[in-house]
Structures are given as structure tokens and as C-alpha cells.
């Protein structure tokens, strides 16, 4: 029996009159890489934001690591937030801090480690995500797109989270960089055993690293499961994704 890390039930989200989610339910298991797939505007990013308490659905229930995040006390929320790391689409590194300070800030604020040992951890994390050592002293404005992603991954992993949330991790990267980043996440997951939840529309990521995923369409989840399971389902959204030109090219290879 696998441990369920995230459990969303009957989520309804509305922005004004615009219905985004109509009773959406999904479960994510421990240590798997779970993908949220869907076209633009299908509400996959909103779903992610609801898991990390940036957005509140109109109704439904969300359990993350056994905590009901819609009815959570401030102290519990504080504890929960230290157990996850989030990588935003554009990196969202603090522009006034260096890369090293960005990675170390959570350790500095939430633990009572000495400055020297935080430095040791930060150096190790910089190395872990494959950044060169000189990157530590640079400011986010001085980094390339790929380095920004790696630096914010290091920041997300600074506190050794149980869950890593990724919002379109490979967007804006070239195919080689995207592939490397996918492999980095896969390798770190195998090594450290965290759960990964990623919003993506990069088919290569779905093919290569995602264990299970769901496809959003028509305000609902139209399919959920492994790639083999999902691809057998006949639904216009899934056909659009996997049987369009881009999807079928990958399939031939």
C-alpha cells in the first residue's frame, strides 16, 4: 500500500463567473513524480497553487502530508510550509540577494544552524544542482535562464523538503537543457526520495520522468494514471496531446 501524500477531493474553483475546476479529485503517492498536464487555461497552475495554499478553492478538500490545508492553524501551516519546496516558472529568486543567500535564507530563518554550517550546506546544494561554484556570489540578474532554474531548484531543496512542487520547470530551456533538468530532478528524487508534483506541457518530460499524471480538460480531470494507461483513453483532449504532430513524432522514435 502506497502512502498518499496529496489528496484532493471534489475541488471547485471559480474566478468570477469563469468555472475552472468542476469537482476535480486526484491523489499523489509518496516518492512518485506526478505531472499535471493540460492546455493553457485548463487550470493546472491553479490546482498547484491550491495545493501550496496560494489559492483557495470554492469547495472541496485538500490534504497535504495528512494535513487539511483548507482548515489549518497558523502554526501547522508554518510547519507544513517547511516540508515543501516550490520552484516557480520564472524562478522567483529574490533579486536583491545573491544565489548563495537565496539558497541559505530559509535555513537562516527557520533553523538555528550556525552561519558556517549554513555555508557548508549551501555549497553542497549548489554543487548538487550542477551549478558552478562561482555562481554562489552572483545575483539572479547575472544568471542565464538555465542557471536561474537550477538556483531556484537549490533554493526549493534547501530545507530537504518532502514534496517538491515544480511549475513548468522546463519552460524557457532549450531541449538539451530541458533534458538535463529532467534528469537532474529524476536523479535527485531517486537519491533523496521526495515526491515531485509538476505542472508541465512538455511532452518529453511526460515521456521521460513522470511516473503518473493527470490530464485536465473541460474543467475536469479527463484521465489519470501512467502513460500507458492514459494513452489508451479516447478523449479529444488526450488525442490532441498525444496524437497531434508533436506527440506522434515522439511516439515513432
Amino acid at each position: 500500500m502506497k502512502n498518499i501524500v496529496i489528496n484532493m477531493k471534489d475541488i471547485v474553483t471559480r474566478f468570477g463567473d469563469n468555472l475552472v475546476h468542476d469537482r476535480v479529485s486526484l491523489t499523489i503517492n509518496e516518492a512518485e513524480i506526478y505531472g499535471l498536464l493540460g492546455g493553457s487555461g485548463s487550470g493546472k497552475s491553479s490546482l498547484l497553487k491550491e495545493m501550496i495554499m496560494l489559492l483557495r478553492p470554492q469547495s472541496g478538500s485538500i490534504q497535504v502530508l495528512g494535513k487539511d490545508v483548507l482548515n489549518i492553524s497558523l502554526i501547522e501551516a508554518e510547519e507544513l510550509k517547511q516540508k515543501w519546496g516550490v520552484l516557480f516558472q520564472s524562478g522567483a529568486l529574490f533579486s536583491s540577494l545573491t544565489v548563495a543567500e537565496n539558497i541559505g535564507i530559509a535555513l537562516k530563518e527557520h533553523t538555528d544552524l550556525t552561519k558556517d554550517f549554513i555555508d557548508v550546506i549551501v555549497r553542497a546544494k549548489i554543487n548538487m544542482v550542477g551549478l558552478p561554484r562561482y555562481a554562489a556570489k552572483l545575483y539572479p540578474a547575472e544568471l542565464s535562464g538555465g542557471m536561474v532554474k537550477r538556483a531556484s531548484l537549490a533554493r526549493a531543496l534547501a530545507m530537504d523538503p518532502k514534496i517538491l512542487f515544480l511549475d513548468e520547470p522546463t519552460s524557457g530551456l532549450d531541449p538539451v537543457g530541458a533534458e538535463e533538468f529532467d534528469q537532474l530532478i529524476l536523479g535527485l528524487r531517486d537519491l533523496l526520495g521526495f515526491t515531485v508534483v509538476m505542472v508541465t506541457h512538455d511532452l518529453d518530460s511526460i515521456w521521460n520522468i513522470v511516473d503518473r499524471f493527470c490530464v485536465l480538460g473541460d474543467h475536469k480531470i479527463v484521465a489519470q494514471g501512467t502513460l500507458d494507461e492514459v494513452i489508451k483513453i479516447n478523449h479529444p483532449v488526450i488525442e490532441g496531446f498525444f496524437k497531434g504532430a508533436r506527440g506522434s513524432i515522439r511516439g515513432r522514435m
Binding site: 533579486s95 550546506i121 553542497a124 540578474a141 537519491l191
Partner: protein
């Protein structure tokens, strides 16, 4: 021997020259501080050059912080010429150790931390270089501005009249209310202070000389320049800085719109045209402020004041004030634009460079005024 109720610690078994450290419990970020203090006390009680053997087979849970701590401790023991071994490593732990080992062993310890004096020298050196670089860049900026001014003169049709007019309105016309109020108040302040002194000597009438000359020669130009530096200098930096962050400047360059011709020169020219007019405007209001107080405090009627004003206020005083205006305007506008171009790709730097730009502009205006003051007085004007 040590033990702890929490279990997340190390048990030491000593045997001759060898210490066996049995690690157990959860080596995770949550317990790191506790483990660190335990390890520290072990370190202090262990002899140099002894053998240390870490047995980690009983550790329930490792996260990256735990592994990093383990490797860090090993390194510290090694520095103390201990012979260190790690045993009981499982397959997955071996992988984690391999991931972090390379970094931990090659990590350099920076020397600069320890030498306070060297740090001061380093800071002084860095700042000196950055100031020199700023000066060189500013000269380059001036050069480019003048080169594109040459382009304007050779191709008068390329002058951006519309932009110039718009900038005159923005920096000049819209600033008139605040310039009027400030200089009126300065006139009031000067008149008030001097009225008290002059009354003692019965030299009431000389208040006119005092106000007319101090306002036209020095006060109105300075006050106007400071208001303009705060108002327009800062907005030039912020406007150009934002355009740089949003890559509009790069877009202009690729479309062969020279930013100097399109952004910098219109601003400099507009301010150089507007500033003398604004100073004349400020002169009027400054003198009005003085006249108002002279009537209230010294019973000097408006007619007497104006009559006296015509006798004492030679036009040269007015010109001395106004001749400075284009120089002030040039300094404010070039510094404002220059700092705008220095903004790098972060939101924070806009704020920083805007502040620097205003401070620089006001300093340069006052320095320039001092030069004029000495120069013109020596010339006897």
C-alpha cells in the same frame, strides 16, 4: 560514553587508539543542531592522530543536511590528523555520500574572512575602482551625447522636436507651481530674517537690495535646480531604467533608433531650454515673497519697494543667475539619463540608481554653483 533519550545521537566506544562512533536515530535537518553539539563535544575529547570509525548502519533516516554534516565532521577530524573511516554504509547512503563528497573535499576555505585589515583594503580598493569606472563611463556617456548632438546639427531633420516639446512641458511647465511656492517661501524666509537685523540699524530700505541680489544671483537658481533634480532627474533615471529592464532600449537599438538621439538628447535639450525660464519665474516669486514680508514687517509699501528695486537690481545680477541655468540643466539631465542606463536587470537597482542620480545631481549643481560664484566674483561681475 554518551547517550541521549532522543536517540538521534552518537555512542562512543573507545578502545586504545580507536574510537568507534555508533551513529543512530534520524540524521535530518530537524535534529542537526543537536547532533552538531554532540559531535563537537566528541571532537574536543578525542585525541589527535587517533583512529575514528563512524558506523552509520543504525541510522534510520538521512537527509542531505545529515550527510553534509557527516562529511563535514569527517573533514574536521582529518584536519586534526585523525584517521577516519565510515562503515556500515548502505547502497543508497553510498550514493548520497558520493554526491556530496566531491564538493566537501574540494571546498576552499576563504582566507579573507580572517583578516580584518585586508578586508578594509579590499573594500577601499573595490570602491575606488568602481568610482573610477563610473567616471570613465560618464565621460564615455558625455562623448556619445555630444557625438549624437553633432548628428543633430548635421541632420536637423532628425531632431526630435515633438519629444523636446513634450519634455519641456513635463519637466518645465508642470514644475512651475512647486517652483513658485518654494521660491516665494525662500523670499519670505530671507526677508523675515533680515528684517529683524535691518530694523535695528534703521536700514529698512536696504531689504530691497538684500532680497533682489541674493534671490536673483544665488537662491532662485539653486532652489529651482534642486527642485528640478528631485523631480525630473529622478524621473529620467526611473524612466530609462524601466525601459532598460523591459528591454525597450535593446529593441530600439535593433531598430536603429539611437537611444541617445531618441531619449537622452531631447531630455537634455528640453531641460536646458526650460531651466533659464524657470529661474526667471522663480526670481519673480522670490522677490514677491520678500516684498510681501517687507510690507508686513517693515511697513515698506509695494510702490516704494518696486521703486527701490528698479534702482538697485542691475540686469547683470539677473543674467548671473540665468547664465548658470543651462549648466545646471545639463548636469541634472545627463546624470539622470546616465544613471538610468546603468540600471541592471533587477527591480531593486531602479530604486538604488534613482537615489544615486538625485544625490549626484544636487551635489554637482552645488559644486558648479560654487565655481561660478568664485569665478564671477573674481571677474567683478
Amino acid at each position: 560514553m554518551r547517550n541521549n533519550a532522543n536517540k538521534s545521537v552518537v555512542i562512543v566506544e573507545k578502545e586504545d587508539n580507536t574510537s568507534l562512533l555508533r551513529c543512530n536515530g534520524a540524521w535530518t535537518l530537524k535534529n542537526i543542531t543537536e547532533i552538531t553539539s554532540v559531535l563537537q563535544s566528541i571532537f574536543q575529547t578525542t585525541d589527535k592522530k587517533s583512529n575514528i570509525n563512524f558506523d552509520i548502519s543504525a541510522v534510520d533516516e538521512f537527509d542531505s543536511a545529515g550527510i553534509i554534516l557527516l562529511l563535514h565532521t569527517v573533514k574536521i577530524f582529518k584536519v586534526n590528523s585523525n584517521n577516519v573511516n565510515i562503515s556500515g554504509v548502505s547502497n543508497s547512503q553510498e550514493k548520497m555520500l558520493a554526491m556530496f563528497r566531491g564538493e566537501e573535499e574540494s571546498a576552499d576555505t576563504s582566507i579573507t574572512k580572517r583578516y580584518f585589515f585586508l578586508n578594509i583594503l579590499k573594500t577601499v580598493g573595490k570602491n575606488t575602482v568602481s568610482v573610477l569606472r563610473d567616471i570613465v563611463q560618464f565621460i564615455a556617456f558625455l562623448g556619445e551625447s555630444i557625438a549624437s548632438l553633432g548628428h543633430y546639427i548635421l541632420h536637423p531633420s532628425s531632431i526630435r522636436f515633438k519629444a523636446i516639446i513634450k519634455n519641456i512641458e513635463e519637466a518645465g511647465v508642470r514644475a512651475l507651481p512647486i517652483v513658485a511656492v518654494t521660491s516665494f517661501l525662500i523670499g519670505v524666509v530671507i526677508a523675515y530674517q533680515s528684517a529683524v537685523q535691518l530694523e535695528k540699524f534703521g536700514a529698512n530700505l536696504f531689504i530691497v537690495d538684500m532680497i533682489a541680489i541674493s534671490v536673483t544671483r544665488e537662491l532662485a537658481p539653486l532652489i529651482t535646480a534642486i527642485v528640478v533634480a528631485g523631480r525630473s532627474g529622478s524621473s529620467y533615471t526611473a524612466q530609462i531604467g524601466v525601459m532598460k529592464i523591459t528591454e525597450e532600449i535593446d529593441a530600439m537599438k535593433t531598430m536603429s533608433f539611437d537611444p541617445f538621439r531618441f531619449l537622452v538628447l531631447p531630455r537634455i535639450i528640453a531641460l536646458m531650454i526650460a531651466m533659464p525660464l524657470m529661474i526667471f519665474f522663480a526670481d519673480i516669486f522670490g522677490i514677491c515673497g520678500g516684498m510681501f514680508i517687507a510690507e508686513i514687517k517693515l511697513n515698506l509699501s509695494y510702490a516704494e519697494f518696486i521703486n527701490r528695486l528698479q534702482n538697485v537690481l542691475e540686469t547683470k545680477h539677473l543674467w548671473v543667475g540665468i547664465i548658470k541655468a543651462p549648466f545646471f540643466a545639463f548636469l541634472i539631465a545627463t546624470v539622470g539619463c546616465f544613471r538610468g542606463f546603468q540600471v541592471s536587470y533587477s527591480t531593486e537597482s531602479i530604486g538604488r540608481y534613482t537615489t544615486i542620480s538625485v544625490v549626484n545631481a544636487i551635489f554637482l549643481v552645488i559644486a558648479c554653483d560654487a565655481v561660478f560664484s568664485v569665478f564671477l566674483t573674481e571677474l567683478g561681475i
